[in-house]
């Protein structure tokens, strides 16, 4: 689980001056978590790398334009990554995944394994049907293990609003999955 790194204004200040050690430190600290996040959301290594690359590229562009985060760098970067993922699926709707040889495991129960993968894919697709904020809350809480306070900072919303979003998102998610189960 990625813990929210305490705001580090000094690091960000150095980053704004395009100080290389500071920028490299930021990348080394946050890129592994961002990659995992993108992988969980997209299940595609190339897309996950692209997501990380684009996120950091946008971060640099924001710094150049004298924008970017004042603090809470992690929340900022995850917000950017999530926006990229949402934009990506708007442009290119998710394609159904076929079971291939790489999914084959001799020790596993093929039927059970296929069922689990199918459910994972349905869950991913169901997540895409949530609103962007609901998606973010669910992903950060149940996939990344963030606390509500950290999610609130990333969404720039009060903690109460995050809880409310989470409640509605879970209800919607269950409804989508149950409905699809009967289709």
């Amino acid at each position: 689980m990625d813990k929210e790194v305490p705001s580090d204004p000094e690091l960000l200040e150095l980053a704004r001056q395009f100080d290389h050690p500071a920028l490299a430190r930021i990348y080394d600290t946050y890129s592994p978590g961002l990659y995992r996040y993108a992988m969980r959301m997209m299940d595609d290594q190339d897309l996950a790398e692209e997501c990380v690359g684009e996120t950091f590229s946008r971060f640099l562009q924001a710094l150049r334009a004298k924008h970017g985060p004042e603090s809470y760098l992690q929340a900022y970067l995850y917000r950017m990554a999530h926006n990229w993922i949402v934009d990506h699926y708007r442009r290119e709707p998710m394609q159904p995944v076929e079971l291939t040889e790489e999914h084959h495991d001799e020790n596993a129960d093929p039927e059970k394994d296929a069922g689990r993968r199918l459910y994972q894919e349905r869950l991913r697709m169901a997540l895409k049907k949530l609103t962007p904020d609901q998606q973010k809350v669910i992903a950060l809480k149940y996939l990344e293990g963030w606390e509500n306070e950290e999610i609130a900072r990333s969404l720039k919303k009060p903690v109460g609003a995050v809880k409310s979003l989470q409640h509605r998102a879970l209800a919607t998610l269950q409804r989508i999955l149950n409905r699809e189960e009967f289709l």
Binding site: M1, L23, A24, E49, F56, S57, Q120, L177
Partner: protein, 416 residues
């Protein structure tokens, strides 16, 4: 993970989603290198001087066309401008397109040509200095770009970087005192930033690229020291730059065509004409040099403020050695493929401050193209071969600091 309020199937599905295959280290490294390259590019753009930005052109040009009645001379002017644009338009577009090219690309010679043209055509020392600083940033960015693409760094890039660093020092030395100090501060800051980048690039660099990066790193370190010295003692700095200029054959502004020749500070250029009694007024910094540990002196190193006398080289001659007129030194030359030395030691042929090589003594550092004088025989292979690489902060073979004044007449020594 927080699973409160979840049914077990959903909980398991979230758990499954958390398991992901490990990240491909190569893809991760490529992503990191691309990010750092972009940072270098942006850093350049941010540091560009405000007066160099093209943000006022519209205010200058457009009013010319906003008059209701154009002057006849203006029509002629427009016609001429249009003709020039049509004639040179293609060239301009090519030059423009070349500005982002890397050394392994076809347009790179256009880029370097345009840089040389800019430096040649710019009269103002201040502007030339700004351009040279920007070009040196480009060299560093090019190194980062090549590394990011997994390509080798040609020595030309390092050579151009060194020449640009030399040029800015010379230009600063020629300015009046307040301006010079201001510019030296800028030079130092830029070199510090470039060295930071170089340090970053050195981490995880392929072995093949390491020698070039180490040399560039060492040169940037020297640049910082020289600029800092100039800020403290401008007169001393000017003297040192003057001596550097003499060492380098006068101009101090290298042409780009000296591309692959080893030209560290104080090294002779291939066109240097040796004295009649031999060549080698200081060890040259060759390419592909094996690494030496920091802090050591390599073969033939000369420390700052030492002023080699005519014939001075890097031989092991004691002050009482009287060489023959033939200028045959008995010191080891800074030849090819020398072994790595342990930190802190002095390499063969290092010259202590008390030693005053006499004419003909010492090891020359002839580059392959240097033409030895008729009596300048020696067994040294000369420099330019696979010489030991210098780590940052060390004096290695051929490094010659600004106070050194090599004179012609040094004989070449016996190589190891």
């Amino acid at each position: 993970m927080k699973n409160d309020g979840l049914d077990s199937k959903l909980k398991n599905a979230f758990n499954d989603l958390q398991n992901i295959p490990p990240r491909d280290p190569q893809a991760a490294a490529r992503g990191r290198a691309n990010y750092l390259k972009q940072a270098v590019d942006f850093r350049q753009a941010v540091s560009r001087k405000a007066d160099r930005r093209h943000n006022r052109w519209s205010n200058t040009i457009f009013p010319l066309f906003q008059r209701k009645e154009r002057l006849p001379v203006l029509n002629t002017l427009i016609a001429v401008v249009l003709a020039v644009v049509v004639f040179f338009g293609g060239t301009s577009a090519t030059v423009f397109a070349a500005q982002d090219s890397l050394p392994d690309q076809a347009l790179y010679p256009v880029k370097t040509w345009s840089e040389d043209a800019v430096l040649s055509l710019t009269g103002s020392p201040q502007m030339r200095l700004n351009y040279a600083l920007d070009f040196s940033d480009r060299r560093v960015a090019e190194m980062a770009g090549l590394l990011a693409a997994g390509k080798p760094i040609p020595e030309e890039v390092e050579t151009r970087l060194q020449n640009e660093l030399d040029l800015v020092l010379e230009l600063a030395a020629g300015m009046d005192d307040p301006q010079a100090i201001q510019q030296l501060e800028q030079i130092r800051q830029r070199a510090e930033t470039q060295m930071q980048t170089m340090t970053m690039l050195l981490s995880g660099v392929p072995e093949s690229a390491e020698p070039i990066l180490l040399r560039a790193h060492a040169r940037l370190q020297e640049q910082i020291q020289l600029a800092a010295m100039g800020e403290a003692d401008l007169q001393g700095f000017r003297m040192q730059i003057q001596q550097r200029r003499q060492n380098q054959g006068g101009s101090g502004v290298q042409t780009p065509d000296n591309g692959n020749e080893p030209q560290g500070p104080g090294t002779m250029s291939p066109t240097d004409i040796p004295g009649p009694s031999g060549t080698g007024d200081g060890p040259g910094s060759g390419g592909n040099q094996p690494t030496e540990a920091p802090g050591q002196e390599g073969p033939g190193s000369q420390t700052t403020y030492r002023t080699p006398q005519p014939g001075g080289g890097v031989g092991t001659m004691s002050p009482t050695d009287i060489p023959g007129p033939s200028g045959t030194g008995d010191g080891p030359g800074s030849g090819g493929n020398q072994p790595t030395e342990a930190p802190g030691q002095e390499g063969p042929g290092s010259q202590t401050p008390d030693q005053t090589p006499q004419p003909g003594g010492g090891a020359g550092t002839m580059s392959p193209t240097d033409i030895p004088g008729p009596s300048g025989t020696g067994d040294s292979p000369g420099s330019g071969g696979n010489q030991p690489t210098e780590a940052p902060g060390q004096d290695g073979p051929g490094s010659q600091t600004p106070d050194q004044t090599p004179q012609p007449g040094g004989g070449s020594g016996h190589g190891p």
